[in-house]
Amino acid sequence: MMSADLTTLMTAAVSFVIFILIHFISFRFVGEGGVLKWTMRIFFLVSLVPVGLFIREGRDIILSRVSMDDVGYLLVAWAVYGLLSFLYILCVFGPYESSIRLRLIREIYRYHPAGISLEHLYKNYNSKIILKRRIARLLHARSIVLNDEKYRIAQKPSFFLLAEVLAGMIERCIKKS
């Protein structure tokens, strides 16, 4: 029988692989605006996998008989799966989907090996294109709203707000007095 450590790690790894597979398949059909929404949906759907794998392990899942040990292992498996997925989204999928540097490399690659002038590059890819994409994404995530042709910040918590708060906290800590 596998150790609890290995079982928990395997459970998280299998969940992560399933997350990646569903992400790769489903995102062929997801438009620009739905990226954040569908990522969250797939993430929470796959979160059920660890529960399924623990049932397969023969553990009791009838609520009244669930031991605190099983809940503990499940929480650890969820933490590992959550971090793996978070890093995949922020370090692999996110940069591909939204990095300006990577898009610039691809734009220049289109004209490889002939090269491209800066004017031509700006014609193909510019701040307006970038902002349109960002606004569509933020509108879909309801981080901003459009009222009377004006964009405003929505009065609801979002990932950007959380990132802003955490970055602000770090900044305050490292700021020289």
Binding site: L9, F93, E97, L104, S117, R134, L138, K150, K176
Partner: protein, 168 residues
């Protein structure tokens, strides 16, 4: 469970030491390498600290040593901290947009594009790519260097696998 608690304490100590380190540095830049060095020290401490045997009641979650999970979580938390640390210096377009909207009570698309233009969004990134030698300029034309071509090829492969558009 104690392995996870130990890991959490070591990681929080890493962050604390890094923040103190950054505070006393003269150069106002990102100190990424120093955090890697501190985190490597923490990892070494954890590896030396490992006790594989379970406690007296080996079946209990509280006494089972989950060192594999603890070490993996520790390694995964390093880039997570760095992502938020980057946020203190790196200006992402979405963050820039949100900051601009926060400053004023709403903006039209034209007003946004007047504030956030090519010089603000594209030029600094191009300069960065020149500096890191992914691209070079010759005779008024911009070219990809060999590492730049490799990155572009990886991006093409990822696009084929994921079926997504160009991104950016």
């Amino acid at each position: 469970m104690y392995s996870l608690v130990t890991m959490s304490l070591v990681f929080m100590t890493d962050i604390f030491v890094h923040l103190i380190w950054c505070r006393f540095q003269k150069e106002d830049r990102l100190h990424i390498r120093s955090f890697f060095a501190i985190a490597a020290g923490g990892l070494l401490f954890l590896l030396l600290f490992i006790q594989v045997e379970a406690g007296p009641d080996g079946k209990s979650f509280w006494s089972t040593p989950l060192w594999g999970c603890a070490l993996l979580l520790y390694v995964l938390l390093v880039p997570v901290y760095l992502i938020f640390y980057f946020g203190t210096k790196v200006e992402s377009p979405s963050r820039l947009l949100m900051m601009s909207l926060k400053e004023k009570d709403g903006m039209t698309f034209e007003e946004i594009t007047a504030v956030i233009d090519n010089d603000r969004l594209i030029r600094p990134r191009l300069d960065d790519l020149f500096l890191t030698e992914y691209i070079r300029e010759e005779g008024g034309l911009i070219w990809l260097t060999a590492p730049g071509v490799r990155v572009a090829q990886w991006l093409e492969l990822y696009q084929k696998l994921s079926g997504r558009g160009w991104g950016g």
